[in-house]
C-alpha cells in the first residue's frame, strides 16, 4: 500500500533559503581580534619584510650591528685611501719612494720604530737635510706635511698605522691620542726637523 503523499508545506519551510543574514557580532569581534594578533605577530617576527633578516634576528639594523667589524682593518683601509691621496704622491703607492727624489717608507727604521714619536714629528712638520734611510743617505726637503696637507689627527693616525703595517712593515698602530700628545709637546713649531734633532727625541 502506498503511503499518501505528505503535505508539501512543512518540507518547503525546512529547505535552505538563499538570501542574506546578519553576521553575528561575536564573529566580527573574534575576526578583528585574530587579525590584530596576526598583525602583532608579523610586526614582531616579520623582520620588517627584509629578505636578509631571518629568525632570530629582528631587523636589518640589528644584523648590521652584529657584524664583526675589525676596527684595525677598517683603519688600515681608510689609511690606505688617505695615504694615496697625500703622502703617496711623493713616497709612491708601494711605499718605495723614487730614487734621488723621495726616500722609501717600506722597511724604513723611521717608520717602523716601535715608538712612533719621531715618525709623528716627521709627518707633522716634515724633515730636511741629511737623513739615512735603509742604510742609504738622502739630503732633501720634504716640502709638504700633514699640517699643510690638512690631514686630521684621526686620518693621520690611520695613515701612519697603514704605513707601519703594510709593505712588510710590522709596527704597532698609532692612535689619534698619540698625535695630539706630540702636537702639544711641539707647540706651534712650523719648521721641518733635521735628522739630528729627531734623534734627540727620546723613544720609549
Amino acid at each position: 500500500m502506498n503511503a499518501e503523499p505528505q503535505a508539501s508545506a512543512p518540507l518547503a519551510e525546512a529547505a535552505p533559503k538563499v538570501g542574506f543574514a546578519a553576521v553575528p557580532i561575536w564573529l566580527i569581534i573574534l575576526t578583528a581580534l585574530l587579525g590584530y594578533r596576526g598583525c602583532m605577530y608579523v610586526d614582531q617576527f616579520g623582520g620588517g619584510f627584509d629578505p636578509k633578516v631571518y629568525t632570530p634576528y629582528a631587523s636589518f639594523k640589528q644584523l648590521d650591528d652584529l657584524q664583526t667589524k675589525d676596527a684595525n682593518a677598517e683603519m688600515i683601509q681608510r689609511g690606505k685611501r688617505r695615504y694615496n691621496e697625500t703622502c703617496g704622491q711623493c713616497h709612491q703607492a708601494g711605499g718605495l719612494g723614487t730614487p734621488w727624489q723621495f726616500p722609501p717608507l717600506a722597511g724604513s727604521e723611521w717608520v717602523t720604530a716601535p715608538d712612533p714619536a719621531r715618525l709623528i714629528r716627521i709627518s707633522l712638520h716634515a724633515v730636511q737635510g741629511p737623513i739615512t734611510v735603509n742604510g742609504q743617505q738622502w739630503d732633501l726637503i720634504m716640502s709638504l706635511n700633514a699640517i699643510t696637507l690638512g690631514i686630521s689627527d684621526d686620518d693621520l693616525a690611520a695613515i701612519l698605522t697603514y704605513i707601519r703595517q703594510d709593505w712588510g712593515n710590522k709596527a704597532p698602530a698609532v692612535t689619534p691620542a698619540q698625535i695630539a700628545a706630540v702636537k702639544k709637546e711641539t707647540g706651534d713649531r712650523a719648521t721641518p726637523w733635521t735628522a739630528e734633532e729627531l734623534k734627540a727625541v727620546p723613544l720609549k
Binding site: 538563499v18 538570501g19 629578505p51 636578509k52 633578516v53 631571518y54 629568525t55 632570530p56 634576528y57 644584523l63 650591528d65 652584529l66 657584524q67 664583526t68
Partner: protein
C-alpha cells in the same frame, strides 16, 4: 539568486593574495640571489656541488630521505664571547682588567674566552677595555639554540645555503636527525655506507630503513681475497652476522650509494654570512679516510 560569480571572485582573490604573498614577493626579494664573497676567506659562497655529490642529491631525493630528515637549522638569539687573542706587553694590567670583567675568568691566556654575555654592547666595551690596555681582544658571536647545542649546525639556515639546490629538500619532519651539516658531523664515508646498508649495525634500535638495494652482496670463499671496493668489516665486526660455513659475503656499494655518500659529505653550511653571523669555521680537515675512528658516532 545565482551567487556563482561572487563565490568565484571570492575564491579568486583569496588565491591571488596568497599567490602574491608567497610566490611573487619572495621571488622579487630573493629570486635573484647570487653567490657572495665571504669576507673571512675571500671565497665565493656557496660553491656548486661537485658532480658526484650532485648525482647523490638525486639518489637522496629518489629514496625519500627528506621524508624523515630535515635540512634546516633553527637558531635562538646569539651570545657574545670576549676572546683574548694576545696579552700584549702589559700582561699584569690585562689580567687585572680581565678579572674585573669576569671574576670567574681565571688566569688570562692567549686564545681564552674571558666572558660570555648576551649583550653585544657590553662585550664590545669589555673588549675595548682590554685593547686599551695593550692586549688584542675580539668579540666572537656564538649562535645558540637547541639545534646548535645538538651539533646540528653552526648557525641558522638561510636562503643562500640552498642556492644551487634543485629541488630544495628542506624536509618538514624530523623522524631522524637534521642532516643540514651531516658532512661535518659524520665525515667518514665508511660510517655512512655501513649505516645506509643497515642502520642497526651502527645505531641500536634505529628504525631508519636499511637501503640494502644500494649495495651488492657478493659471496666468496673465506680464503679468497675480498671483492674490489668491499666495505671493511672490521669496523662493524661486533654486529655484522657472518654466516657459518665456507663462504662469506662482501658488501660492495653501488655507484648510487657512493654518490649519495658524496652528497651527504657535501652538506655543511657553516660559512658566516651577513644574514647569519657565525664564528669563522676552522679550515677543512684533511679529507675523510677509512680509519676506524670514523665509525664511532
Amino acid at each position: 539568486m545565482n551567487f556563482g560569480p561572487l563565490i568565484f571572485l571570492g575564491v579568486f582573490f583569496t588565491m591571488a593574495c596568497s599567490w602574491f604573498g608567497m610566490i611573487v614577493v619572495p621571488q622579487l626579494q630573493i629570486g635573484g640571489q647570487q653567490p657572495v664573497k665571504l669576507e673571512a676567506t675571500g671565497q665565493m659562497y656557496p660553491l656548486p656541488r661537485a658532480g658526484l655529490a650532485q648525482q647523490g642529491a638525486a639518489v637522496y631525493r629518489a629514496n625519500g630521505c627528506a621524508a624523515c630528515h630535515s635540512q634546516q637549522v633553527r637558531q635562538g638569539p646569539p651570545v657574545f664571547d670576549v676572546k683574548l687573542n694576545d696579552l700584549g706587553t702589559n700582561a699584569a694590567q690585562v689580567a687585572d682588567i680581565a678579572r674585573k670583567i669576569n671574576h670567574a675568568a681565571g688566569a688570562p691566556l692567549p686564545g681564552k674566552n674571558i666572558w660570555r654575555t648576551p649583550v653585544k654592547k657590553d662585550a664590545d666595551a669589555a673588549a675595548k677595555r682590554l685593547t686599551d690596555a695593550g692586549a688584542k681582544a675580539a668579540v666572537v658571536i656564538v649562535p645558540t639554540g637547541a639545534d646548535i647545542e645538538r651539533g646540528w649546525g653552526a648557525r641558522v639556515s638561510v636562503a643562500q645555503d640552498y642556492l644551487y639546490d634543485q629541488p630544495l629538500m628542506l624536509g618538514s619532519r624530523r623522524i631522524g636527525p637534521d642532516l643540514a651539516n651531516i658532512g661535518a658531523r659524520k665525515p667518514g664515508a665508511d660510517w655512512q655506507l655501513w649505516h645506509l646498508y643497515n642502520p642497526r649495525l651502527i645505531t641500536d634500535g634505529s628504525f631508519m630503513p636499511a637501503y640494502r638495494f644500494l649495495f651488492n652482496e657478493v659471496p666468496r670463499r673465506k680464503d679468497a681475497p675480498p671483492a674490489l671496493g668491499a666495505l671493511d668489516k672490521t669496523l662493524v665486526a661486533k654486529t655484522f652476522p657472518e654466516p657459518a660455513g665456507e663462504t662469506v659475503t662482501d658488501i660492495v656499494p653501488t655507484a648510487e650509494a657512493v654518490a649519495l655518500v658524496a652528497y651527504l659529505a657535501s652538506l655543511n653550511p657553516d660559512a658566516p654570512l651577513f644574514e647569519a653571523p657565525a664564528p669563522v669555521p676552522p679550515p677543512p680537515a684533511a679529507p675523510a679516510t677509512n680509519t676506524p675512528a670514523a665509525v664511532k658516532p
